[in-house]
């Protein structure tokens, strides 16, 4: 499992989330048994940690710009 941008604290939270996600993806989603994200709670904690790191490193403006150019809802397809 790879590290998180937010250092050891976020990496520990990421590990828990990744383990949950990988299990859900392989055994739930791929078998069409589960469409809902069962790892929501773990993701909430992990994501909060990452967002702090993104703000600290001033990545948010770049990310927001990229999101405008290639919206998530469009699967990241570029407008231009």
């Amino acid at each position: 499992m790879s590290a998180s941008i937010g250092g050891p604290e976020c990496t520990a939270l990421k590990k828990k989330y990744d383990e949950c996600f990988n299990d859900w993806y392989t055994n739930g989603f791929l078998n069409a048994k589960s469409h809902t994200n069962e790892c929501e709670d773990l993701f909430t904690d992990y994501k909060a940690c990452v967002m702090r790191a993104l703000k600290e490193k001033q990545i948010m403006p770049l990310l927001e710009e990229a999101r405008k150019d290639a919206p998530f809802e469009d699967g990241g397809k570029w407008k231009r």
Binding site: S2, A3, S4, K14, F29, N37, L63, A66, G76, K77
Partner: protein
Amino acid sequence: MKFFENQCFFDYAWEQVSSAHWRKYPNEQASHVVAVDTLRSEVDPNTGILRIERLITCRQGAPRWIVKLVGSTEDSYVREVSEVDLKNRTLTLLSTNLTFSNILSVQETVSYTPDVNQPHARTRFTQDAKITAYGALSRWANNMMEDFTIDRFKQNAARGRAGFESVLEHLHQGVFERATQKTSV
């Protein structure tokens, strides 16, 4: 503007390849990838497509002439949006650079689909990148930047393939054997 294209095959079913994709890092070949973070993960209620946004943090040295042109930066960031279409068995990722986006644009599309001839035992990988440098003062310098980026893509693609193969092999030994045992009992 320059283009890079790449294609290869992995001798594993699409389901294994797509699972392995989420477990790709770390691997020895991809030492330049220092962090991968999930920002958003949702199943589209209308289409059933799983959509995931990730931030990838890379650290890879650059030659001095590049550093002189663009300034030095320790880490560079890439935003990736993936879509997993279970019905059609496709995994598509679209990635763009966040770092140096004011002088260089890299738009990469990767797709994993079942091999037409062996749809349950082999997966096709395609990669396309569009690279445009526009921040330097001369067309010559922009050209150099594009050439450098293409070369780097080639190197990383070769390492990426080798690294992914080793991840697939490793997982095949473990996870998928266990899954098969579960279902066959």
